[in-house]
């Protein structure tokens, strides 16, 4: 089965190239996607964990988020 193609458009000359990905490019693309996805999930988890921690602290203090914002503002 042929590899997918990529399109390159030269904005100066107007030339359009349709190029089949090499096996190495397919592997690299998959690796890059995996790295990005791992990083994205890690960042999202960190943000979610922080929100949970913030809520727990506010609960301990007996404050609402709006009240905390006033205090910190």
């Amino acid at each position: 089965m042929a590899n997918p193609t990529r399109i390159e458009v030269n904005c100066t000359t107007g030339e359009v190239l349709e190029i089949e990905l090499t096996d190495e490019e397919v592997a690299q693309r998959d690796a890059d996607a995996a790295v990005s996805e791992t990083q994205r999930k890690a960042d999202e988890k960190a943000a979610a964990d922080k929100a949970v921690a913030r809520t727990a602290i506010l609960d301990r203090l007996g404050l609402t988020a709006d009240e905390a914002a006033i205090l910190l503002g």
Partner: protein, 175 residues
């Protein structure tokens, strides 16, 4: 308000493509605008895929602050130390999204030919014709690299952009 808004290059895909790249971008404009109407071929029921934008083949020092809104709740956060900019919260898949609907993105890149770090804004809205999961993604994008932008590589999170996806690059001149 820009005094010019010029189409540099663009097209609608007649067949699927693994990526779309604008190369040899002229340095004669002040700002760039990338407009994409896209859909990828990811299966598995996910409708909230992302796409990625890579500048000059640079693979480090990308970061972004995002606001995503779904049909039920918004979320905010940051992505750090990325290998490209992700613009998410608005990309459809063939399996999970409504048939033949696309997401629409505008990325604005000011001072792209200057010698400062590169910033951009992204606004993406998903067209999906459902009642419960309308997606919007807004992002402030930063690349810690001062090289003038000469190429833009756009890739989907799935294997390819489907036929009918479109990619347009505009140049803006302020004088």
């Amino acid at each position: 308000m820009p005094s010019t808004y010029t189409l540099i290059k663009g097209e609608t895909l007649a067949s699927s493509a693994a990526s779309y790249t604008f190369t040899a971008i002229p340095s004669t404009f002040t700002d760039l605008v990338v407009r994409i109407s896209g859909r990828d071929n990811t299966g598995g029921g996910s409708i909230n895929n992302y796409a990625a934008l890579r500048i000059n083949s640079i693979t480090s020092n990308y970061s972004e602050t995002y606001l995503y809104g779904s049909g039920t709740s918004p979320s905010t956060g940051r992505f750090n130390a990325m290998s490209d900019w992700l613009f998410g919260g608005g990309w459809l898949s063939s399996a999970g999204g409504t048939s033949n609907t696309f997401s629409n993105t505008e990325i604005y890149i000011p001072n792209y030919a200057g010698s400062t770090n590169k910033v951009a804004s992204n606004f993406t809205v998903q067209e999906n014709n459902t009642s419960g999961s309308n997606q919007v993604g807004v992002e402030a994008l930063l690349l810690g690299n001062t090289a003038a932008i000469t190429s833009l590589l756009i890739t989907p999170s799935g294997a390819s952009f489907v036929t009918g996806s479109s990619f347009y690059l505009y140049g803006i001149k302020n004088s």
